[in-house]
């Protein structure tokens, strides 16, 4: 059928099942917005293009579907850069639609022109500059296919304004065929048998769950593996939730910000099995030392991750959804050496829990434990980056896979609030809680406007210590407590901010009031801001 390219674009989005597109308009993407306005898709106006990408990321992370966002050329596109890089690091499937100046002006430094494909090349899975409108439908279908398959990631489609307004023939093409792109990596029983042998021979084998397990929707298969074998499990930050945090074999998050039982097991293991993990520097600071003290097996859908950061003895490039059931079968009849697994479990059981004894400020770790208790670990929880992220990672007891939405690889402050909004719009029936620090919150605070406008009823827990806590602590340890550039001062007054957006607000300053404050937040219908006053000397771990 002959139609405007912008209309064909919207039809592809509809074919892909897109219901929301997070965006911000400018002249160069108005034809797209015009077509969206006439379609079944809702354009969710954010307050900054960066928020649009993060919201789409929250949407994608919770649903497993490709998130979509749009912005105009130039500054619209560059404001999205942080969000795109964040999605690339955490393997989040996005299609990012940017307007570009008219074809005839490309390369002339026109008003609001930037080389969008140039600047997004190192931070996207793929990108396109659409020169011929007839290519647009095929490119979009490819963009969704590439973003959502294999190791997912963001795909940027840059469309000059005049191209959006030309007429094209549109016929849905079905699954694209891209020469040289083979996202499906089937597992083999031979690989599974080899890893099973290594596990059987090990005295102290350990499973490391990465975010790949969640992306592959393989957490059930993984939990079955852990339960069937009794193998102890630690996770990376992105892998939290691969097994329920209360699972008897789960020892917690490993790495520089992980918990002692997990790190102790990691230090003692003689076989470490990485499953869908990048083995980043935050997870393993000294990969050489690890490779010396233990055998390393690495299973990932991205062959380039295997051997990139850590030398490995057994490399398996495979889709975990296919591989894990094979591994479980190959390990039939096997039970992890009891002494090792039990010792690890005992360490975890012996770990002291944060308490609420202190007066004059709330213990944030205690609050996270109480919040976890009050919600049964079943909320969808987003975080910012800094102490709030680690408090959440180590103390909220996630009961379900894929419900911890955090910026793991890129460490993007300002991610959590718009991500919570995107998640809530994707699944309005879910309880979505944004865990905020007062530094990060102020980066995305204007998105409260979007949250209210679009009825995204998220609960916001805001830790207030009027300082950038993680760096403050870092300066304590590494710079003889010379605190430079981290004090946020006395402003703003958060209850007034909440009032300005007509958001109900509570404040809790004492541990003894934590339970009632959480109850008030959960019982109040709609969006709610809970201000939590914490001590700036509170430790991350």
């Amino acid at each position: 059928m002959r139609m405007l390219a912008s209309k064909a674009l919207v039809q592809v989005l509809e074919e892909q099942g897109v219901r929301h597109i997070f965006g911000y308009p400018g002249a160069a993407n108005t034809p797209i917005l015009d077509a969206v306005g006439k379609s079944s898709i809702a354009h969710i106006l954010m307050r900054n293009e960066q928020g649009a990408v993060h919201a789409a990321a929250g949407y994608a992370r919770l649903t497993g579907k490709v998130g979509v966002c749009t912005a105009t050329s130039g500054p619209g596109a560059t404001n999205m850069i942080t969000g795109i890089a964040n999605a690339y690091m955490d393997s989040i499937p996005l299609v990012v639609l940017t307007g570009q100046v008219a074809s005839g002006l490309v390369g002339r430094d026109a008003f609001q022109e930037v080389d969008t494909t140039g600047v997004t090349t190192p931070i996207s899975k793929h990108n396109y500059l659409v020169k011929d409108p007839n290519d647009l439908p095929r490119i979009l279908e490819e963009a969704f296919w590439i973003a959502g398959t294999g190791r997912p990631g963001p795909v940027v489609v840059d469309i000059p304004m005049d191209v959006q307004r030309m007429r094209v023939d549109y016929q849905p093409q079905g699954t694209p065929q891209i020469r040289g792109y083979c996202p499906h990596l089937p597992a083999t029983d031979a690989d599974a048998a080899q890893l099973a042998d290594a596990i059987r021979q090990a005295e102290r084998p350990l499973l490391v769950a990465g975010g790949g397990i969640l992306i592959a929707h393989a957490s059930e298969a993984f939990a079955a593996l852990a339960a069937g074998t009794g193998l102890p499990v630690v996770s990376t930050m992105m892998g939290i939730g691969a097994v329920p945090c209360a699972h008897p074999r789960y020892l917690g998050m490993v790495g520089s910000h992980g918990v002692p039982p997990a790190n102790a097991a990691f230090a003692e293991a003689d076989l470490v099995v990485f499953l869908g993990a990048r083995v980043s520097d935050r997870t393993v600071s000294d990969t050489e030392a690890l490779a010396k003290r233990a055998a390393v097996a690495h299973v990932d859908i991205d062959p380039a991750e295997i051997g990139k950061n850590i030398p490995c003895d057994l490399a398996i490039a495979a889709d975990l959804a296919d591989f894990l059931p094979r591994l479980t079968r190959a390990l039939a009849g096997y039970t992890c050496p009891g002494g090792w697994a039990d010792k690890a479990a005992e360490r975890r059981a012996a770990m002291p829990l944060p308490d609420g004894k202190k007066r004059g400020a709330v213990n944030p770790k205690y609050l996270m434990r109480r919040l976890s208790e009050a919600t049964g670990g079943r909320a969808v929880v987003t975080t910012e980056v800094g102490q709030n992220q680690i408090w959440t990672a180590n103390h909220y007891q996630f009961a379900r896979p894929g419900t911890f939405l955090t910026s793991g690889g890129f460490g993007t402050m300002g991610f959590g609030l718009p991500a919570a909004m995107g998640a809530k719009l994707a699944r309005p029936d879910e309880l979505v809680i944004a865990i905020e620090g007062d530094g990060s919150f102020q980066m995305s605070m204007p998105e409260l406007g979007a949250i209210r406008q679009w009825g995204a009823e998220v609960k916001i827990v805001l830790f207030v210590n009027r300082v950038l806590g993680m760096v403050h602590e870092y300066q304590d340890v590494n710079f003889q407590s010379r605190h430079s550039g981290v004090d946020l001062g006395a402003y703003p007054h958060y209850p007034s901010i909440a009032a300005a957006y007509d958001i109900p607000c509570g404040t809790v300053a004492e541990n003894q009031d934590v339970d009632s404050a959480i109850a008030a937040m959960l019982e109040t219908p709609g969006t709610y801001l809970l201000e939590v006053l914490v001590d700036r000397t509170e430790s991350t771990l």
């Binding site: 140039g118 090349t121 190192p122 793929h126 500059l129 020469r179 040289g180 792109y181 990139k308």
Partner: protein, 160 residues
Amino acid sequence: MAKYILTALVNNHAGILAKMAGLFARRGFNIDSLAVGVTQDPDISATTIVVNGDGHTVDQVLKQLSKLIDVIEVKHLPAEQAVSRELSLIKVACDPTNRSEIVQVVNIFRAKVVDVAPDALIIELTGTGDKIDAFEQMVRPYGILEMCRTGMVAMRRSGQ
């Protein structure tokens, strides 16, 4: 450190060369040369990349290049299985007293004089990198005014 020859077939799409070059720079891969040209299929370009590094580097270059959507396939080509050539143009200063001497060197190397002026010759030479290096040594005393090299292009020998 050793030199490795990689050959890649890539979609002839705008920006693919920038994507490859950007990848090398970003990941700190040390590239000696990168040569690109179209194949018998106008939609596909063949590239030859010479990488400096160890086995780990080459493994990573291969895997990271494979991840680029527009890279169709990339392979390591062991030197003993490769036919490899490079083309160079060299402008050498000359005068009537030494012109024939230079032409003798050109003949020994089976190079070609492709432009003559009273004070200079442009010489075209095809061969392996070593051969071009050797030729450069020979004509250097006469004065090299300009020189450019294409970088290596390589192909697997038949039956290998």
